[in-house]
């Protein structure tokens, strides 16, 4: 059989652009992990919460978009702060596994709340992305995916810049690299912890809104979070660059598997990438190589 190069190109391009969303959500995960060393298994559910908040503001309360999107993102930030204060802060100093299991419980609570308030049915978000078809050469790109990727890359760039130049961002990076030293130079470390959760929840909300407007929202959206977890492990848990590269890579693998093998192979392909990476480079593509080998 002849390879259809045009089709391959089109699929690859679409998948890599879809991977941009994984990169953004992966960034949200890495933010929390770097600063607080908490593995947040509820990242997919936080993304879902953000998209449902947007749904409430935009579709149920009929707020204009320019108000609904920031409102949803801010509300998610508040949610992040509440989570950090009530569930994560009390576990400071406990074994890391406790905080990790708390996030599993958190995921379950969020799914349950969404099903209680908005029911488990699939919902559509109001269209706000342009619907003009995009073509690159001969390849046709779904407009929503294209604009989603554009928004994601804008946010990723903004976050990277903010954390390079803003004081709070520098404080966060300082805390990530050495907590005790950060304390010593007068950084309020607990506040940095709160900040990282707030920013992470906001980023998750942004990607949730985009993912939701591409594929609709439902209470099983948290599955997206599983792929995000694969992304951050492949990239290396504490590496921003890793999350970005791995996001695109996993997006590509998933898209190719979906196009050539069938939709049910998508998740399988991602998990095979995960197992492969764990065997070859357990600390991920760009992660810090742990000195202890256990």
């Amino acid at each position: 059989m002849d390879m259809d190069w045009g089709y391959l190109f089109e699929v690859s391009l679409t998948s890599v652009m879809g991977g941009g969303l994984y990169a953004l959500a992966g960034l949200a995960f890495v933010m929390v992990y770097k600063a607080t060393r908490v593995v947040n298994l509820a990242i997919g559910e936080m993304l879902m919460a953000g998209s449902y908040l947007f749904f409430t503001f935009a579709a149920m309360w009929a707020l204009p978009l320019w108000l609904a999107i920031p409102a949803a993102v801010l509300a998610s930030g508040v949610l992040g702060a509440v989570i950090e204060r009530t569930m994560i802060r009390p576990l400071l100093g406990e074994p890391p596994i406790s905080a990790f299991m708390v996030t599993i419980g958190l995921g379950s609570v969020l799914v349950g709340l969404v099903e209680m308030i908005w029911s488990a049915d699939q919902r559509r978000l109001p269209d706000f992305l342009p619907t003009q078809a995009i073509t690159v050469g001969d390849a046709f790109l779904a407009p929503k995916i294209f604009w989603g990727a554009v928004i994601a890359s804008v946010f990723i760039t903004a976050v990277l810049l903010v954390f390079r130049y803003w004081r709070g961002g520098v404080a966060l990076r300082a805390t990530a690299s050495d907590q005790a030293a950060a304390y010593a130079v007068g950084i309020n470390v607990p506040r940095v912890f709160s900040l990282s959760w707030v920013v992470s929840a906001m980023l998750a909300a942004v990607s949730g809104i985009i993912v939701g407007s591409i594929g609709g929202i439902s209470s099983s959206m948290g599955v997206f979070g599983l792929t995000v977890l694969v992304v951050v492990i492949v990239g290396g848990l504490d590496s921003v660059l890793g999350a970005l590269v791995a996001g695109l890579l996993v997006g590509l693998v998933e898209g190719l598997a979906g196009a050539y093998l069938g939709g049910e192979y998508k998740l399988l392909a991602t998990f095979i990438v995960l197992v492969f990476i764990l065997m070859v480079r357990p600390y991920g593509l760009f992660g810090t190589r742990e000195i202890e080998r256990l």
Binding site: V39, L41, M87, P90, L91, E94, P95, P96, I97, S98, F100, M101, V102, I104, G105, L106, G107, S108, V109, L110, V111, G112, L113, V114, E115, M116, S119, A120, L226, L229, V230, I233, E264, L267, L268, F271, L274, V275, L278, M279, P282, Y283, E290, E292, L294
Partner: protein, 345 residues
């Protein structure tokens, strides 16, 4: 620690049940388990079987998570492996029940070892994520293979023992409860041996454990294998109990259920597995009761599943934050209060 018990030998000191009071209570519990099926109605027998299956699986997860400190979210997948093994063996070859259950455990154990090898190289957290992956891969395999019956699953005949069909909860009780009791005794005894102590050492500080001469990879794998073996046997019992298994029977939320059970019950405690699994199995039933009492209860039934999810999650969070040692610790505190009464404990 009970006061006023005198030990004259190391054997007595290491005994599983070391005081007369404990023996009396155990005898009472055994008598209750024996008499229960003759007193209870069908509903309670059904619940008892379900609780026993969940206890068996929770005890397995407790070996891994509670005693070795490795979180797994694949317990449901390994139960699925066990359940499918039992169903396929029975439908294809009609092999006897004891063999099927054993095979279920062994197959799940092998599955566990395969999943464990790549993830155990680094840190416990990776294991959790790989076990999630395993859950989805297992679901994919169950749904796409021919001999697993695809998405419609498999329906089994009732198990046949000594010419009797185990087709009612009353009859199944005599299979499920003894197997569970046996497995609990096994788990409790495990932690009096070198292997069990090695697990605990790994949980408390893995580097120190390695310095003490414990081969980490070997013991972590062993713990994972044992835990999956328990899950497999529990899955086999599950298959005999429900007699219909589909790929949807073993979702990720079931693994979260077991994790919640051992957190609520008490990690690193056999009593914790029992209390936690019983408590978590009864929570949905209690919910149903509460919903029936509320006005307009019939309209509220759609909320049953989501409320359950919220409560499971909230229980995990509340217990981890406020009572990390779980119901078992609450029970111990209560007991201590009565032991020391009227003195302050």
């Amino acid at each position: 620690m009970r006061i006023g018990t005198l030990k004259e030998s190391y054997v007595a000191d290491a005994a599983l049940f070391d005081s007369r009071t404990q023996h009396v209570w155990l005898a009472i519990a055994a008598a209750a388990l024996l008499l229960f099926p003759f007193m209870a109605n069908d509903y309670w027998l059904y619940m008892a079987c379900l609780v026993a299956i969940n206890i068996a699986s929770s005890a397995g997860l407790n070996i891994l998570t509670g005693y070795t400190g490795l979180v797994s979210l694949g317990q449901a997948a390994f139960m699925g492996l066990g359940a499918y093994t039992v169903a396929i063996l029975q439908l294809r070859w009609g092999t006897p029940l004891a063999l099927n259950l054993l095979a279920a455990g062994v197959v799940a154990m092998l599955g566990g070892l395969i999943v464990g090898v790549p993830s155990l190289r680094v840190k416990g957290l990776y294991l959790a994520i790989v076990t999630i992956a395993a859950t989805f891969i297992a679901h994919f395999l169950f749904a796409n293979f021919d001999f697993t019956g695809g998405t419609s699953g498999l329906s089994m005949r009732p198990a046949r023992v000594f010419g009797t069909d185990l087709d009612t909860s009353f009859r199944l009780y005599w299979l499920i409860v003894p197997v569970t009791v046996l497995m609990l005794l096994g788990a409790a005894n495990l932690f009096r041996t070198r292997i069990g102590r090695a697990f605990i050492a790994i949980r408390d500080r893995d580097i120190s454990a390695e310095v003490l001469g414990i081969a980490l990879l070997k013991y972590k794998l062993l713990s994972f294998g044992l835990s999956s073996f328990y899950a497999g046997v529990a899955g086999g019992l599950f298959a005999y109990f429900f007699r219909v298994i589909t790929p949807e029977s073993f979702p990720l939320s079931m693994s979260i259920f077991f994790l919640a059970a051992i957190i609520v019950g008490g990690m690193g405690s056999t009593l914790g597995s029992i209390l936690g699994a019983a408590f978590m199995t009864m929570v949905p039933e209690l919910l149903k009761l509460v919903f029936d009492l509320l006005p307009g209860g019939a309209d509220l039934t759609v909320f049953l599943a989501p409320v359950r999810l919220v409560i499971f999650g909230a229980l995990i969070i509340v217990f981890l934050v406020f009572e990390p040692l779980g119901l078992a610790e609450m029970w111990r505190r209560t007991r201590r209060f009565f032991h020391l009464w009227p003195f302050k404990n």
